[in-house]
């Protein structure tokens, strides 16, 4: 019954649904890397914070993450802004290694703090939407929450793209990336624009965490795998190109989904990194975009 057609099609659809969330995570990372050349090793921990924040609000109020995700975004915007102003700004201009150590250290502190406060147990939430499926024809079905998170993530990804390419703020952020010497001569307050960019990138991670909560499980180290995936997306997308990272996120979702379909779940992450190594060694400027953010 056309199984050779419907099974991979279902796989690709599932992949795109996951990929939209990856895209949002990757765009946040790419924005920060593109504007500041900072590899934020705390990106996954920020996602984890967004997840726990959403979890706490859900436990207290029962409001579905699909309505309250902006809270996680606002919270993580301020966390990102404060991280830049308080921790990263004082070491700008030092060797890159210090930034890497600092963000890695921050990630460890946040992860351990989460373990201290919430314990190492896995948590899941239950909302009515989880049991709903949308059927298209006899063979294809889509889990409703994934469709909702896909829609939200895509809208936000487009909004982020619009901000970076069309607004004066986005122009200023790109100007700093392209010529940090000339940017202040335009009247751009470089530190402020960078802090806001760092805040927006972190907010993207926080919102992704909120959207992941209903369909994933929550534990203190949940951010690690997403941090690794966002490295892969930034590299695939062409260092710091946010549209490149978005496309890379969708591609990664589909590749992972088809890999687990045909080879088994355990191979999905391996395939991510094979892609990562291949791109780095064969086309280090990335596949989906060469222009910087």
């Amino acid at each position: 019954m056309l199984n050779w057609f419907y099974i991979p099609l279902q796989g690709i659809l599932n992949g795109l649904l996951t990929g939209a969330l990856y895209a949002l995570i990757g765009m946040g990372m790419a924005l920060i890397f593109g504007v500041m050349r900072i590899v934020n090793f705390a990106h996954g921990a920020f996602l984890m914070m967004g997840m726990y924040a959403t979890y706490v609000v859900f436990q207290a109020t029962g409001v579905s993450p699909y309505y309250q995700f902006p809270l996680a975004g606002v919270l993580l915007f301020f966390v990102g802004y404060a991280t830049y102003m308080g921790l990263l700004r004082p070491i700008r201009g030092q060797v890159d290694f210090m930034v890497i150590l600092l963000t890695m250290g921050l990630a460890l502190i946040l992860t351990d703090a989460a373990q201290l406060v919430f314990g190492a147990d896995y948590h899941q939430i239950n909302i009515p939407l989880l049991s709903k499926n949308i059927h298209i024809g006899p063979q294809i079905s889509i889990n409703a929450p994934w469709l909702v998170s896909f829609g939200i993530a895509m809208v936000l990804a487009c909004a982020l793209y619009w901000v970076v390419t069309q607004t004066m703020f986005g122009r200023a952020a790109r100007a700093i990336a392209q010529n940090p010497y000339a940017a202040p001569l335009m009247g751009i307050n470089v530190n402020r624009v960078q802090a806001i960019a760092f805040g927006i990138g972190s907010a993207a991670a926080g919102i992704s965490g909120a959207l992941l909560l209903p369909v994933f499980y929550l534990f203190p180290e949940v951010g690690n795998q997403f941090k690794l995936k966002s490295f892969v997306m930034v590299v695939l997308g062409g260092m710091g190109s946010i549209q490149g990272a978005a496309i890379a996120g969708l591609v990664l979702g589909v590749v992972e989904s088809l890999t687990s379909l045909y080879w088994g779940n355990e191979w999905a992450l391996a395939v991510d990194f094979v892609l990562f190594i291949l791109v780095l060694s064969l086309k280090p400027s990335g596949i989906f975009g060469s222009q910087r953010a």
């Binding site: 122009r171 790109r174 000339a182 202040p184 001569l185 009247g187 222009q291």
Partner: protein
């Protein structure tokens, strides 16, 4: 003089342990075009960097439009009305000509007038209108210099600082650039030029200063300076 737009009095500045400016004393009146001349490494570029706030002065007075600007960061000095067109153009290479110009009008005071300001620049540099959608990094050197000038003017400055506008350009283009600078001066913008191209620089200027080893050593009208034996020997090879 009371109508001084920019005053520097015994300004000193260093890069780390290396002192680059020892005694920069000069005064620029509103409406003037003034050229700083001097050898490579004399401190001309550093003087502009101190005015626009990229480098902090450590001593002396730096006043613009009646106010002390020596403690302000660069982005606030732009707001006060100083626009710095740096050496080597320093455009945003992956952005179009239009986007480069738009960034010139980043400060709040001029942002609402963005469209009018862009039109003004296209009038002054018709060539840029043809190239408006082209990426700045792909333009010729002369066109890039035009974009840099236009971008500097987008902030509607009172004082325009030009660092080596003729650098790396062919003689014909240099002539065009200086003609534009003269036109800019006539429109009422005060201009301070740093130039190794002494004759061309002075020919459009009202006055000139000579900078040697981080010190202003001489000043005068273009005629006086070009007639000075020392200057003829040092900068013109005569």
């Amino acid at each position: 003089m009371s109508d001084a737009l920019l005053t520097m009095d015994d300004v000193r500045a260093s890069y780390g342990d290396f002192q680059a400016l020892f005694n920069i004393t000069l005064e620029i009146r509103a409406g003037e075009i003034v050229t700083l001349i001097g050898a490579n490494g004399a401190g001309k570029t550093t003087t502009l960097r101190v005015i626009s706030g990229l480098l902090r002065s450590q001593h002396g007075q730096l006043r613009f439009d009646g106010q002390d600007i020596s403690k302000l960061p660069p982005h606030e000095i732009v707001v006060r009305g100083v626009s710095h067109v740096p050496e080597g153009r320093q455009l945003f290479p992956h952005m179009s000509v239009e986007e480069n110009l738009a960034l010139g009008a980043y400060i709040g005071r001029v942002r609402p007038k963005l469209k009018d300001l862009v039109e003004e620049q296209f009038e002054l540099f018709p060539r840029l209108k043809e190239r408006r959608r082209q990426l700045a990094g792909t333009l010729s050197g002369g066109e890039q210099q035009m974009v840099a000038l236009a971008r500097g003017l987008m902030a509607a400055p009172k004082l325009l600082l030009l660092d080596e506008p003729s650098l790396g350009l062919s003689p014909k283009i240099v002539e065009e650039v200086f003609a534009k600078v003269q036109q800019i001066g006539k429109s009422g913008v005060t201009v301070l030029i740093v130039e190794q191209n002494v004759v061309d620089g002075l020919s459009i200027s009202d006055r000139g200063y000579v900078v040697e080893n981080g010190e202003v050593t001489l000043q005068g009208t273009p005629k006086e300076l070009l007639g000075n034996e020392q200057i003829r020997a040092a900068y013109l090879g005569l």
